[in-house]
């Protein structure tokens, strides 16, 4: 097969300096998660932790790609995660996002996606929900590279 398959599924290895496993006994970086559940199908927009919150809508893979996911991106925010490629029944997602804007009256939405094309769907969903919403909220779109670098970071038109 030639190398023009789906970039979202293409096999790659990134060379890194050797790291020693610590055994998981010590937590040096505290979790910044302050709610449960987190999956977009499972969360309710009327949950108290969404009211007036700064919300992070993260594509599943971003938490693994970013070395500082908790400290830089999740800290101070409420979370919903989703995969625009593999999740089923995604028609529910747009309504939930619209409800976050209108009912939870969230302060901001940060959409964190991977650079692979399939991930754009999550940003598209958020943009459509914002357009449909009667309430405008700043939406920040952040694209994460496969090795955890930030490729794009911009605010959408409110």
């Amino acid at each position: 097969m030639s190398g023009c398959g789906c970039p979202g599924s293409k096999t790659m290895t990134f060379e890194k300096a050797e790291q020693t496993e610590t055994g998981g006994a010590k937590t040096s970086s505290p979790s910044q998660l302050r709610q449960w559940p987190v999956q977009l199908h499972l969360v309710s927009p009327v949950a108290p932790y969404f009211q007036g919150a700064d919300v992070l809508l993260a594509a599943d893979c971003t938490a693994f790609a970013l070395g500082d996911f908790h400290s830089e991106w999740l800290a101070g925010k409420s979370l919903a995660i989703a995969c625009p490629k593999l999740d089923a029944n995604q028609d529910v997602y747009e309504g939930k996002l619209k409800s976050l804007f209108e009912d939870a009256r969230i302060n901001t939405l940060t959409v964190l996606i991977m650079q692979v094309p399939c991930c754009r769907g999550l940003l598209g969903m958020a943009a459509r929900a914002l357009k449909e919403s009667g309430r405008k909220v700043p939406v920040r779109a952040v694209v994460v590279g496969l090795q955890g670098d930030i490729i794009q970071d911009e605010w959408l038109e409110g």
Binding site: G76, T110, W155, G158
Partner: protein, 263 residues
């Protein structure tokens, strides 16, 4: 070298004029600043230069002001990500600048044909002053001073320069109104033109330097709070804002067609 980082830029440029040229070569236009009270270190910081560019610039400045001394830049947290464009609340302010600039671009044409003894001309100046006081000052500058600047150190030199510009602008407008009452055409013209010069420079400083710096410093939480506070003001002022936009359009139509007739 460290003492120069806290020295007002005007003092440095007057002692070492080459520093002004170096700053200008890096797009830092402090030489014509009317106040020049900002310290050198803050000025370089606020422009967000790439670390290697900043080091090269400070090394070159150091060679002029303190030859032989090593330049050590204070460690700053690296920008977490390459942010592009203005955040939504900041973009609102930049869009408001566009309307203010459209109005002040018309002032030379208005004052060129001004007859302070003609009632229509006096009413036109009154209407321009109303735009400046209500739209530019009460609506736009109030958002800046009460909401945006309030999230930063109001005593900082950079913000003091901005407050000073606002105050100087208000003084020019008051002097123009006083001159109109005295039927003094030169007083009206000179003060309105002085106002436009202050505002043009002021808006350039905000759009190109202050706002991008503030956007880098604002947290996501603060961006959302400002956006929501601005929208409340926008919605209360929306009818008036629409009238002022129509006023600028009508002036553009009138004075653009006058220009066309002259041509």
């Amino acid at each position: 070298m460290n003492e120069y980082l806290r020295t007002p830029i005007r003092e440095i440029i007057s002692r070492f004029p080459q520093v002004g040229s170096l700053l200008e070569a890096h797009g830092i236009g402090c030489v014509p600043c009317s106040l020049g009270t900002c310290p050198l270190g803050d000025i370089v910081d606020i422009h967000g230069l790439a670390p290697e560019v900043e080091l090269a610039l400070m090394t070159a400045i150091g060679a002029i002001v303190a030859p032989g001394e090593a330049v050590v830049l204070s460690a700053r947290p690296a920008a977490s990500s390459p942010k592009k464009g203005f955040s939504p609340p900041m973009k609102t302010l930049v869009d408001e600048h566009r309307l203010i600039l459209r109005l002040i671009a018309l002032v030379p044409a208005v004052t060129a044909s001004l007859d302070v003894h003609a009632e229509d001309d006096r009413q036109l100046v009154v209407a321009i002053v109303a735009f400046i006081r209500n739209y530019a000052d009460r609506f736009h500058h109030a958002k800046e001073e009460d909401l945006l600047f309030a999230r930063f150190d109001r005593e900082s030199d950079i913000l003091q320069v901005m407050y000073e510009d606002h105050a100087n602008g208000r003084a020019c407008v008051k002097a123009a109104v006083d001159a109109l009452e005295r039927r003094d055409p030169a007083g009206v013209t000179d003060n309105l033109i002085a106002y436009t010069e202050i505002l043009k420079q002021h808006i350039r400083k905000e759009d190109e330097i202050l706002y991008p710096w503030m956007d880098r410093k604002l947290s996501t939480r603060q961006v959302g709070e400002l956006f929501s506070a601005f929208r409340k003001i926008d919605s209360a002022f929306s009818e008036e804002a629409g009238r002022y936009e129509a006023f600028v359009r009508s002036l553009e139509d009138k004075f653009a067609s006058n220009d066309a007739e002259v041509a």
